[in-house]
């Protein structure tokens, strides 16, 4: 599904990712953890093609394609989805209008017919249930005046509708209360299938009680310093990140 090799990226003249290697197979959920400033969010944004970051070396293969050569919209059309840490507010257009536009663009790219608003509403109904929302949310402007929790739920709703092959969730759990966390996690779990994959970027182990990962990676100063099974997350929760950074410091 995804193969990252020696990925280095910077913002301006500051190098943030300093050689990332990561392979994600279909059917897997990978957690990427790490302290603030370790490069977790940058990794997520680079995978989605954010123009603020320059990739300086390395390569990323996504379903056999060179991901770094693709425009952000081409990545989305090829089945990638980034759930934003800070979803953007777009006053002036409704949630339904925006999401249908995205849905239809992805269909167009696949050579499929666009759907009209009535058919789209039918499709939405089931996805809304997944995030425990009524239809009212769809007539509100995109993320505009949404609470932090509502914005994150909206990301999960978009993900459910766009049905990606590879979902990258960038700190989707930050700032969520326990109910919102449960709803978000349920949404993600419901979309788990043998033919898709997810990368869950998080600072805290808490989310991983709900979304149980196959692999856990710890990022520090732009590198993956440790990988392991789901127990690694528990160990991090118990011991914090310092011991790892010390361990890495000792070996370099």
């Amino acid at each position: 599904m995804l193969e990252i090799k020696g990925l280095r990226a910077s913002a301006g003249d500051k190098e943030i990712l300093r050689g990332i290697d990561l392979t994600v197979n279909a059917g897997e959920v990978h957690a990427v953890m790490g302290p603030n400033g370790s490069g977790k969010s940058t990794l997520a944004q680079v995978l989605a093609g954010h123009p603020a970051y320059q990739v300086t070396s390395g390569h990323v293969l996504y379903q056999g394609q060179d991901l770094l050569e693709m425009e952000p919209e081409e990545r989305a059309q090829a089945g990638m989805f980034l759930a934003f840490q800070y979803p953007v507010e777009i006053p002036g257009i409704s949630n339904a209008y925006f999401l249908r536009a995205a849905y239809n663009e992805i269909r167009k790219a696949k050579g499929l017919e666009e759907v009209d608003s009535m058919d789209f509403l039918d499709l939405l109904e089931e996805k809304l249930r997944l995030v425990e929302w009524g239809p009212e949310i769809m007539s509100r402007a995109v993320n505009s005046g949404f609470s932090g929790g509502e914005k994150k739920r909206n990301e999960i709703l978009q993900m459910a509708v766009l049905d990606p092959k590879l979902a990258v969730l960038d700190e989707t759990d930050s700032g969520l209360d326990i109910d919102a966390l449960r709803i978000v996690a349920n949404g993600v779990n419901a979309l788990r299938r043998p033919d898709n994959a997810a990368i869950v970027v998080t600072h805290y182990q808490r989310l991983l009680n709900y979304i149980v990962p196959d692999r856990v990676h710890v990022l520090s100063a732009g590198r993956i310093v440790k990988s392991g099974g789901k127990d690694l997350a528990l160990e991090l929760e118990a011991r914090g990140y310092e011991w790892l950074e010390e361990e890495v410091g000792a070996t370099t």
Binding site: P51, A76, G92, I106
Partner: protein
């Protein structure tokens, strides 16, 4: 040219119909005298500094000659809403009874054309016509008063609700290319009454050069409610000067939405006077310009009395080498304590060559007031663009989508859903999106 209008006025007076009442003749003469003294605004005139009126001033503008045959079918793209709405149609400034449709009305409501209202001395005409739009306010208003011939007349008696909006549709055809029309509207909403009025300025000569000089007067009685929408979609080679003068009384609510997308040079002046306490005034505007278009909005709100609220949001989208002018005046008299006035002008530039001159002008003489203003000129938000692209929307389409969102935000303020839908349709058509 000024002289041309003096000659036309003399000719008009000599052929005046016997029905024209003396008070109106006197008003016309005073207006013509005023224009003869002032002429067109000069470039040094502060009020007209950024408005290129020279192309109007140096051209002679006869009235339209020859009758235009217009079928109902060609007007279909300009008519919207419900079939029971009243739509008054004016072709080249003249009322067309055949194309007009009058819907069901509450008892006592008078809706018709101004010429008829004057001739038949309908209630409300003599005490309001020319009383709200002073000829001293601009040479163009003076010309309107001197030459006004027809337009919409709406009179809603006290405590009466007009549930279906009234649409005043002004159509310019090929026969009026090279000519001027002076549409003149009078809207009187008596105390406790409610209504919605739409003015549209459209053309069947989309590449024609002509000039529309429109004036609308609004009298909003105590505790009245009026939604007033103005849609200007003239030929992009035409000139359009419009002035709307509103007088509001105690406890009244007036909300205006001004959409401007046509005209090589188009200007709209909106003057609202708050004559008493506890008045609410909402002024929304949207302008879209491209090519070499110049679009100008001058608004003035007169807070003459205490405890009133005015809220103004004008937004503009400018492409190519187009230019926008926004001037927002807020006058707060010493006695107008507890005034709450907010003004916002936001501009989105789609090209490096587009320009905006924006100027808030607050003159506040009371000390216990809340008055704010803000103006922005900018580009599309990069983070929003990336957000849309990350959802699969191609870059160009994402730009159109976000441009549409920028414009549509202010359209949400229109209360009547079919009007909102029509405005959204016009913006989408212009932006070529979805």
């Amino acid at each position: 040219m000024t002289e041309g209008f003096l000659q036309d006025f003399a000719a008009q007076s000599s052929t005046a119909t016997v029905d024209t009442p003396e008070w109106l003749e006197a008003m016309r003469r005073a207006a013509m005298e005023r224009f003869a003294v002032t002429g067109f605004p000069a470039a040094r005139d502060e009020e007209w500094r950024f408005t290129p009126v020279a192309p109007i001033a140096r051209t002679s503008w006869p009235p339209p000659s020859g009758a235009a045959e217009v079928s109902r079918r060609v007007l279909e793209p300009f008519i919207f809403g419900h079939p029971e709405w009243t739509t008054l149609v004016f072709i080249n400034g003249i009322f067309s009874e055949g194309l007009t449709s009058i819907g069901p009305m509450a008892p006592g409501v008078r809706v018709g054309n101004l010429a008829e209202a004057v001739n038949a001395s309908w209630s409300g005409v003599d005490c309001h016509l020319g009383r709200h739009a002073p000829i001293a306010s601009s040479p163009f208003t003076a010309l309107s008063t001197a030459f006004m011939r027809d337009g919409g007349f709406v009179h809603v008696p006290a405590n009466t609700v007009v549930t279906r909006p009234v649409h005043l549709l002004f159509v310019t055809t090929e026969e009026a290319v090279g000519a001027v029309t002076h549409p003149r509207n009078l809207i009187v909403v008596e105390p406790g009454a409610r209504a919605s009025v739409i003015e549209s300025y459209v053309t069947l000569a989309p590449s024609g050069t002509y000039w529309t000089n429109a004036v609308t007067e609004v009298a909003a009685g105590a505790n009245s409610w009026l939604e007033h929408t103005r849609i200007q979609r003239e030929s992009e080679r035409a000139y359009h000067i419009g002035s709307t003068h509103v007088d509001q009384h105690r406890d009244s609510h007036y909300r205006s939405f001004t959409m401007a997308m046509g005209g090589e040079m188009a200007r709209h002046n909106l003057h609202v006077r708050l004559n008493d306490e506890n008045i609410e005034t909402l002024m929304y505007g949207l302008y879209l310009a491209r090519g070499e278009q110049v679009v100008d909005n001058h608004t003035a709100i007169y807070h003459d009395q205490p405890n009133c609220r005015s809220w103004e949001v004008y937004k503009g989208v400018l492409d190519d080498r187009s230019r926008a002018v926004f001037n927002g005046k807020v006058f707060v008299k010493p006695e107008a304590q507890k005034t709450d006035a907010k003004q916002t002008n936001r501009n989105l530039l789609l090209s490096d060559s587009a320009k905006v001159n924006t100027k808030p002008q607050l003159e506040i003489f009371a000390d216990d007031v809340k008055c704010t203003h803000g103006a922005t000129v900018g580009r599309l938000d990069e983070s929003a663009l990336f957000y849309a692209r990350s959802r699969g929307v191609p870059a160009e389409e994402a730009q159109r989508l976000l441009t549409y969102a920028f414009a549509a935000e202010v359209i949400q303020e229109v209360v009547l859903e079919p009007v909102r839908a029509e405005l959204e349709r016009l913006v989408r058509g212009r932006l070529g999106t979805l």
